[in-house]
């Protein structure tokens, strides 16, 4: 007997150890699950709702009932083990567990992902919002794929663009807003927070990363329903001096080494209260500028806006070898930007950075706000069997429906859909100047300038052209278009063409 007791003894600690490990793992992972803070924001004209987001198999899901409550009022609910029926006004919505088919009133939607029910809560993929909400609310829906926010109804989100310039003893962050904003600042955990008031905000990019010794990043966040920008300094002990200019449309924030030099208050500048745990206010304002060559100061240089078409899931045309239009034009724009900056005669603004696809309206706002000297939109597509080939287009409407309105003279509101009319001649001159330079490139076919209803050009308040390179189709390899020499020659020709268009002056 004593020998059998001795044999059992070592098992007891093992039996105790297994539950202890289990409890330990639960304690370790339970808070991580509970503290997940991904939210989805539903912006309505007068309200906004913060809805917890679930990510299952890399797909974003939202609880159906809170979503419906955010955009209206849920009526009766009928739930069974595998089916869920909910009435939204007169419309009945029916879900089945694990099924991609969703019945919304009389119509049936087929979603890309199935309905889920983890923890007893019925979840629908985010795609459900764009597919079903227009039918349920009879309102317009604005949703940018990948973003955690949606705008329902007559909501006009403020757009913003960002740039960072080096200064003598620090860096200047310039944030341009499409409309006036009221900004409140705060500092916490070594970061600076810029609260952007109550208006909904839709940034061109969710975050910006800088290779700068003073500012390492800027992130937009509205996960708690309050739109704000979070500035991350690249080092400790830096001072932050935010200033509003142009009536609240432009935020200028200087990040400087301590002690701060005494800056001069520029006319028209409006000081902001400094962050609580940050530096004392010492505003300094200079004219806002897009990217300047080498951070040069002095008289304002004309701005050239470069618009790389498509982006993100909007891939555009595709070559036989898998080259996508969105990538091809992004590379081309990067080269054109360098060619223009190398002339030291222009500043350059890009309508998209990285693999994003800002909607046309955001691109137009970004371009029109800087009053550019020229707007160039880059495309690639099917231009027949001759390659490489370049065609330059200026805008031509598909009908003269807006001509009568335009002929009436000045109107109360700017008719943005007709704004191209005041630049038709200059746009054609720009197309002509560019085509003449393209024609000089050996081995490249440069067609005569063409006219077409190109959407990207319609609401640009400047001489504007679209440059299409080709052929990029599934019938052809795109080697000629991705060739570095070809792209560089095109870039140089564009710089020379703009120079010729502007009469050799900056």
């Amino acid at each position: 007997m004593p020998s059998s007791r001795t044999a059992l003894r070592p098992r007891r600690p093992l039996l105790l150890l297994a539950p202890a490990i289990l409890v330990g793992l639960l304690i370790l992972f339970w808070p991580a699950q509970a503290l997940r803070s991904d939210n989805f924001i539903v912006y309505m004209p007068s309200t906004r709702s913060v809805i917890p987001l679930e990510v299952i198999d890399q797909v974003k899901y939202l609880p159906l009932v809170p979503v419906l409550n955010a955009v209206g009022k849920v009526g009766a609910i009928q739930e069974r083990r595998d089916t869920f029926k909910v009435w939204f006004g007169e419309v009945q919505i029916e879900l089945r567990l694990g099924d991609r088919r969703v019945r919304v009133g009389a119509s049936r939607l087929i979603l890309a992902q199935p309905v889920r029910k983890p923890g007893g809560q019925w979840l629908v993929p985010v795609e459900f919002l764009t597919r079903a909400l227009p039918e349920l609310t009879h309102d317009t829906i604005e949703y940018q794929v990948g973003m955690n926010r949606i705008f329902v109804g007559d909501v006009k989100p403020i757009s913003l663009s960002v740039r960072l310039d080096p200064t003598t003893n620090g860096a200047r962050l310039t944030v341009q807003f499409s409309e006036k904003v009221a900004i409140r600042t705060a500092a916490s955990n070594g970061k600076w927070y810029l609260f952007l008031g109550n208006r909904p905000v839709q940034p061109l990019e969710p975050s910006y990363h800088f290779q700068d010794p003073y500012v390492s990043g800027l992130q937009f966040d509205d996960q708690d329903g309050i739109p704000k920008l979070i500035v991350t300094p690249a080092a400790a002990g830096l001072n932050f001096y935010p200033t509003l200019a142009e009536g609240g449309r432009i935020l200028l924030a200087d990040v400087l080494k301590p002690p701060p030099p005494p800056p001069a208050q520029a006319p028209g500048g409006e000081s902001l209260p400094a962050p609580a745990a940050g530096p004392s206010p010492a505003p300094g304002v200079t004219p806002v500028a897009p990217e300047s060559p080498g951070g040069a100061t002095g008289p304002a240089l004309p701005v050239i806006v470069l618009d790389a078409a498509h982006g993100a899931e909007e891939i555009g045309a595709r070559g036989r070898d898998g080259i996508l239009e969105k990538d091809l034009v992004a590379h081309l724009v990067a080269r054109v930007r360098l060619s223009l900056l190398a002339t030291r005669k222009y500043r350059v603004l890009l309508t998209r950075v990285g693999d994003a696809n800002p909607p046309f309206q955001q691109r137009e706002v970004a371009a029109n706000m800087v009053r550019p000297a020229a707007f160039l939109s880059f495309h690639a597509g099917n231009l027949g069997i001759t390659t490489p080939r370049v065609v330059v287009y200026s805008y031509r409407p598909s009908s003269e429906a807006g001509a009568e309105e335009a002929a009436k003279g000045p109107q109360l509101f700017v008719p943005w859909a007709e704004v191209y009319r005041s630049h038709l001649e200059r746009s054609r001159a720009l197309a002509e100047a560019l085509q003449q330079k393209f024609a000089l490139i050996p081995g490249v076919t440069a067609d005569k300038p063409a006219v077409a209803p190109v959407r990207a050009l319609r609401s640009i308040d400047a001489p504007s052209v679209a440059i299409e390179v080709g052929s990029l189709t599934t019938d052809e390899d795109s080697g000629a278009l991705t060739n570095a020499n070809f792209q560089q020659q095109i870039s140089n020709a564009i710089a020379a063409g703009i120079e010729a268009f502007r009469g050799g002056t900056s």
């Binding site: 088919r101 087929i110 598909s398 429906a401 190109v454 299409e468």
Partner: protein, 199 residues
């Protein structure tokens, strides 16, 4: 029954139960596969017009197809026995566009094109409602999208005098563009030299 056999039976029962549940999931997955929208959808809709065509006059129609190489539209003559109503004639022209050129020109509409609805208003405006699948099969590009749209518009206006302008809808709604290039927000009026600069 020996204890080992009982355990084995339990394991087998568990495996059977898991298999039954998995089979149910698989069956459901198969049931929710959406039907593939195909060429037949367009054919079925448009052939209705073709079937009615015998009632009308037989004439030579002029159809336009894109030539991406020339950056222009090329005309093609074809004998068509017209339907009685203008709306059916519009369907006939679209059917001919889906059929494609007989002389080797490019397509304006893909063979998978699906026309959801055609409506001719009293002021001569034709509303063409395409499926989103139709548009995703059109080759993207400024020239290709513009030529494709004008090939349709010009073919309709040339053969059906009642057609004055065309509005293109997708899935019953107004859209900004075909695939990021051609501006579809406005009506299209016929133009036989659509992307040539004004002289």
């Amino acid at each position: 029954m020996p204890r080992g056999a009982k355990i084995l039976m339990l394991i087998l029962l568990g495996v059977l139960a898991a298999g039954a549940i998995y089979l149910r999931v698989l069956t459901r997955r198969m049931a929710v596969q959406p039907p593939e929208p195909g060429e037949e959808v367009a054919r079925t809709r448009l052939s209705e017009a073709a079937l009615q065509a015998a009632a009308g006059p037989s004439q030579t129609a002029t159809l336009y197809f894109p030539s991406y190489e020339q950056g222009a539209l090329v005309a093609e003559k074809r004998t068509v026995t017209w339907a009685e109503s203008d709306t059916d004639r519009i369907r006939q022209v679209l059917l001919a566009q889906i059929e494609g050129s007989h002389q080797g020109a490019s397509r304006a509409l893909p063979s998978t094109a699906s026309i959801r609805a055609v409506f001719l208003a009293a002021d001569g405006t034709v509303y063409l409602d395409f499926s989103s699948q139709t548009l995703s099969d059109i080759k993207p590009g400024i020239a290709s999208e513009c030529l494709a749209v004008y090939a349709i518009v010009d073919s309709l206006a040339t053969n059906i005098p009642a057609v004055k302008r065309v509005k293109i809808l997708v899935e019953g709604r107004e859209v900004d563009t075909l695939d990021g290039h051609a501006d579809l927000s406005d009506f299209f009026v016929p133009d036989l030299s659509p992307i040539s600069p004004p002289s």
